[in-house]
Symmetry: C2
Subunit: 145 residues, 2 copies
């Protein structure tokens, strides 16, 4: 595993320690992390700060050229909102920790020309299974169910 | 025009007064506004706080049942990110001020079962034309172009 998915997992683990949904994300541009974050539903009462959205917000305002040469790493398959953000900014490549506990908008991303790689990483799977078992209500809220 | 689109336009106008992208949104649930906001790219250096996202964040954490009985009003056709958020939370109906200055993910929303109504309101069109002429760089950044 490269350092970027490792950083995304560390974000997810930090979220879990905070009592939050353990999903983390980083955005890599030219070999550097330009944005990182984790789900903030519990911590900030946020309906929009999924892991990927937190990473985008942390990266701040960027020109289109930066997004179009970036890779987004996320510990979990991106939901429709986060997939929409990836499509808006035309991020060309997304590395996904796992899609066993939740399958997001991967087909739409692929149809939009986004290159996906799914790692099925056991640490990512375990983080989600642990959280979903303990807080099914929070998890359902996070995915609009 | 009903009071809800009127409130969304007031949000857009407030954004313009702040020097920001003039797009506003409100979320209506059972006849009451439960969330409202406007684009905060300029004001907060935000890459994710489009008008609709600001309204969702302002509404705070809500159960799925609230979103599924809400109407989202937005002064401009929702971009892929905001359309993704609408799809995530399964908001069933979206009232759009105009889609002449920017056409968002309306086909995807319709294919997802979301009911759309486009007003082509001249105030909404004028707000966008005024801003785009004055700040084309900011506008392009906001839509990932």
């Amino acid at each position: 595993m490269d350092e970027f998915m490792q950083a995304a997992i560390e974000e997810a683990e930090q979220g879990l320690r905070e009592g939050g949904v353990p999903i983390g994300s980083v955005i890599m541009h030219e070999g550097e992390i330009i944005g990182r974050g984790h789900n903030m539903r519990q911590q900030q009462g946020s309906a929009i700060l999924h892991g990927e959205m937190s990473a985008l917000e942390n990266a701040g305002r960027q020109p289109a050229s930066v997004y179009r040469n970036s890779v987004l790493y996320t510990t979990l398959s991106p939901c429709p909102m986060c997939s929409g953000a990836i499509r808006l900014y035309q991020i060309p490549r997304v590395i996904i920790g796992e899609n066993q506990t939740f399958l997001g908008d991967e087909e739409l991303l692929k149809a939009s020309g986004v290159e996906l790689e799914v790692l099925q990483d056991q640490r990512c799977i375990d983080l989600m299974n642990q959280f979903i078992a303990a807080h099914p209500d929070v998890w359902n809220e996070d995915i609009g169910e």
